[in-house]
């Protein structure tokens, strides 16, 4: 998957599977671990998906059966992206 364009007001830089994101409004910089970056790109490429649909997409992409840890990682990742504003940005 190619790196998704960052939302307006954000700068995104990727290196390998990781990324850093800069929020021009707050001046904060955030580290996106590989799974968080993947989650962000999935949401950006497929806006409006439910958590279940995101889980299904990632399961297909990562070629594995989801377990409890996987669901937890998705929930926590989405919460983290929403908390920093990267998913809520216009």
């Amino acid at each position: 998957m190619s790196a998704a364009a960052p939302p307006r007001g954000w700068l995104l830089q990727t290196w390998g599977e990781e990324a850093v994101a800069f929020d021009a409004a707050s001046g904060d910089t955030h580290y996106l671990a590989p799974f968080t970056r993947l989650l962000f790109e999935t949401c950006r490429d497929h806006p409006g998906l439910t958590t279940a649909e995101i889980t299904a997409l990632l399961r297909a992409r990562l070629d594995g059966a989801p377990d409890t840890d996987f669901h937890t990682a998705i929930d926590e990742g989405l919460a983290s992206l929403q908390r920093i504003g990267l998913l809520n940005a216009p």
Binding site: L11, Q13, T14, W15, G16, E18, A19, V20, F22, A24, G27, T29, Y31, L32
Partner: protein
């Protein structure tokens, strides 16, 4: 002319009156002080640096290190650092006058020179490539920086790595290397070229002495260097020498958190930092023996040079 060409009496006279004009890297200073240990430290450590008449030359930073007025002159004498006649810090004991000048100059650069992204890190150069050495206190950064300089690497800086926001190049600020505690004797023993000033005891960092930058580093202080590596040194007693790849994104985050003006520069700081990380290899480096550490760095420089 060079500072070493000033007779000691003239150096003391300038410091005590109109001030000594001195160039260090891209910055010019005018230093005033009536304290003998400041004149002594400047003469010992800044001999190769350019001086001019303070009446003729513009200075970026006007600083002074002098005793505060009042009773303090007589009871537990202290010393104050001032920038544009304003003291940004509390006074320190009188015998810490020279380290206070050094720390004050660091403060001037880190709070004023926003044409650079300023990272809290040592930096050295060989074969045209710079190694940036960020690390928390106690990791051996200054010791390794000093040893590299004494082993053929050019000193760019001990504390403040200046990244040019336009070119991405690293500008040199080869001021004396601050050594603490056991590192002082270690570096004295490491090389016959090591010239250190008189140690100051009981500072906030313990015993501190400064190492004179070698002539070659000072002569080339106007020559910027291309970034080659960001290497996080960690001295550990008895450890094997190991160099391991490090995440670029996590390196970026560390540099951002340890840059003096990253927040001040906003998105420009982010872009400058990203451009830096794009150009370098990132490593963690653990060592216990300086000679082995130097060998590893020399191999890196040879590989980049080919």
């Amino acid at each position: 002319m060079k500072l070493l060409q000033l007779p000691p009496a003239e150096l003391r006279r300038q410091l005590a009156s109109s001030g000594l004009w001195l160039r260090t890297g891209p910055f010019s200073l005018r230093v005033r002080s009536r304290i003998p240990s400041v004149a002594e430290g400047l003469a010992q450590l800044y001999g190769q640096f350019e001086v001019r008449s303070p009446h003729e030359a513009f200075a970026d930073f006007h600083v002074s290190v002098n005793p505060p007025s009042g009773l303090r002159r007589w009871v537990r004498p202290q010393v104050c650092f001032a920038f544009d006649d304003m003291p940004p810090f509390k006074p320190l004991p009188y015998d810490q006058a020279f380290p206070m000048l050094e720390w004050g100059l660091n403060w001037c650069v880190s709070t004023q020179a926003h044409q650079y992204l300023i990272i809290h890190a040592g930096a050295v150069e060989k074969n045209g490539r710079a190694a940036i050495l960020p690390a928390p206190p106690g990791s051996g950064k200054s010791t390794l920086t000093a040893a590299l300089m004494l082993s053929g690497w050019r000193l760019l800086s001990d504390e403040l790595t200046l990244i040019d926001r336009k070119t991405g190049l690293i500008h040199a600020l080869p001021r004396p290397v601050s050594l603490k505690n056991a590192s002082i004797d270690l570096i004295r023993a490491f090389s016959k070229d090591a010239v250190l000033n008189r140690p100051s005891h009981d500072t906030i960092k313990g015993t501190v002495a400064h190492l004179r930058p070698l002539r070659e580093s000072v002569l080339r202080q106007h020559e910027p260097a291309r970034p080659g590596w960001v290497i996080f040194p960690r001295w550990q007693a008895g450890a094997a020498t190991t160099l391991a790849p490090r995440s670029r994104a996590q390196t970026f985050m560390y540099l951002a958190e340890n840059a003096f003006n990253y927040s001040h520069l906003g998105s420009e700081g982010f872009r400058t930092g990203c451009a830096l990380i794009d150009r370098v290899d990132c490593h963690d480096f653990t060592y216990s023996r300086l000679d082995e550490a130097i060998t590893v760095f020399d191999r890196l420089a040879e590989r980049r040079g080919t």
